[in-house]
């Protein structure tokens, strides 16, 4: 079982809990192939999707997962809510809680926002991305996709390349892949490399050729223009020529390498279209697997609703 009643980050999960989520997701994946893609498990439960930052993939993925489990879902788009009228996060959530939802899925631009809610609210909180901190369900669906293709996680060389400084996907993936025994390489320009990455058991490098060499998995991350307040890269063209994944660079990896991207992609910046649409790309599998992984998380956390911390 899961020890916490919330899913706030991968850092809190033990390897058995990660395996439990991935195993459960395997069973959930089959539901998508049925004529009726729905099970009655969360009938009568209400899940609120509270997205304070734009999101298409993650929000829709959570909505589909909730509907497949028969939960009642409502999604709050912040642009149309009272937040634009000056309401604080806590007031927004307390008002929502007065309507007695069972779970809240939240994305927020501030790191730690879901942790604050978890302390102060009754609902089960699922972190759908908080600032530059964690995005646990993304790391879980990445791991699920790798495990499905490679049948294991331990001993694999995983190269994560891109804007690492601003990436919650990197942080969650580093925690998860480390815990499961993978050999993680991180590659970025020096300006986008977080300090002390080596302390987390990651091998940092500024050479994409070195990172990709012999890799089983290449994970490309987006240049996050919206989080860049300052000049981190001279130009996207230069970034592409030094750090973009081209078919030629990908050839240094293992023959059966898989290429991943959490989306949204900047084609011609961090990844070439040839690679993104090529035979090694599992980018759309990641999206399909996201639904199964989120169903697993919702199911496993639904058992712990009554508990107080």
């Amino acid at each position: 079982m899961l020890k916490s009643r919330h899913l706030l980050g991968i850092a809190d999960l033990a390897s058995e809990e990660i395996s439990l989520i991935l195993d459960t997701a395997e069973a959930m994946k089959e539901i998508a192939a049925r004529p009726i893609k729905k099970v009655p498990t969360l009938r009568g439960r209400t899940v609120v999707n509270l997205f304070f930052e734009p999101s298409t993939r993650t929000r829709i993925s959570f909505e589909v997962a909730e509907k497949r489990l028969s939960a009642d879902t409502l999604s709050v788009a912040i642009a149309q809510s009272s937040v634009t009228k000056g309401e604080t996060l806590l007031d927004t959530v307390r008002n929502l809680e007065a309507m007695a939802p069972d779970m809240i899925v939240m994305r927020h631009a501030s790191s730690g926002a879901p942790h604050l809610l978890a302390r102060l609210c009754r609902s089960v909180i699922i972190n759908a991305g908080d600032g530059m901190h964690e995005h646990p369900t993304q790391a879980l669906l990445d791991a699920f996709t790798i495990r499905e293709r490679k049948k294991r996680l331990d001993g694999l060389k995983v190269a994560i390349v891109g804007d690492l400084l601003h990436s919650r996907v990197l942080r969650s993936n580093v925690h998860l892949l480390n815990r499961m025994g993978a050999d993680v390489w991180a590659c970025a320009p020096a300006t986008l490399m977080p300090a002390d990455l080596a302390r987390f058991g990651v091998r940092p490098t500024t050479s994409i050729d070195e990172a990709v060499d012999g890799a089983d998995v290449i994970m490309m991350l987006r240049i996050q223009h919206e989080r860049m307040h300052g000049h981190f890269i001279p130009s996207t063209r230069e970034y592409y020529s030094l750090f973009g994944l081209t078919a030629e660079r990908a050839r240094r990896a293992k023959e059966d390498v898989i290429i991943m991207h959490p989306g949204p992609m900047n084609r011609g910046v961090e990844i070439d279209s040839d690679v993104a649409d090529g035979p090694y790309s599992v980018i759309l599998e990641q999206v399909a697997n996201g639904v199964a992984v989120r169903m697993a998380v919702l199911y496993l956390l639904a058992g712990q609703e009554g508990e107080a911390d």
Partner: protein
């Protein structure tokens, strides 16, 4: 711990059930629209064994699937708190539309598992009919459900527990009855 069925009797009971299936379903349409679905965990190897028997007796290949009913249970999340039961894969690699489904489980008790299994099956299509096969019927039904084929009727008290052990999972074949009858 008293053994109420050994490997030999279990084998004979399953062979008898295979004969009964052919007797009941053999004449009008042949066996071409039959399919076996075992309920996880122990219904699955039982369904495979019945499929083997049917092949031996009638030289017919009956497709076999595995059904996990966890997500359909009526007691899910009714307890205050607790770990969620493990969900395992459902594998039904054929269409059940217009098939005569033979649903297989090891023990028939309250009938709630079968109720869940019926709900789950209907989500896969519209079978022509569903028949129920159980190795042991121990009584104490809480729902209006009855088996079509029974390996052994075993009168029990609700305080007792019936344990079916199968070679494929437990390393041996037998049925044990635990606890006092009162």
């Amino acid at each position: 711990m008293p053994q109420v069925m050994d490997a030999d009797r279990m084998g004979r009971a399953l062979t008898r059930i295979a004969h009964e299936i052919l007797e009941r379903n053999g004449n009008q349409r042949g066996t071409s629209d039959l399919a076996l679905v075992g309920i996880r965990t122990r219904g699955v190897p039982l369904a495979r064994r019945i499929a083997l028997s049917l092949k031996d007796i009638a030289h017919t290949d009956v497709p076999t699937g595995a059904l996990d009913i966890t997500l359909y249970r009526d007691d899910l999340m009714r307890h205050a708190v607790g770990p969620q039961p493990l969900v395992r894969r459902t594998e039904i690699p054929f269409s059940i539309d217009d098939k005569r489904i033979l649903l297989v489980d090891d023990v028939l008790y309250t009938g709630r598992t079968i109720r869940s299994a019926l709900d789950a099956l209907i989500d896969f299509g519209r079978p022509r009919s569903i028949q129920l096969i159980v190795l042991v019927d121990r009584g104490h039904r809480e729902l209006p459900i009855k088996a079509d084929y029974v390996g052994k009727n075993l009168p029990t008290s609700p305080k007792q527990s019936v344990q079916v052990r199968l070679q494929e999972i437990d390393g041996e074949d037998d049925v044990l009855l635990q606890g006092d009858a009162i």
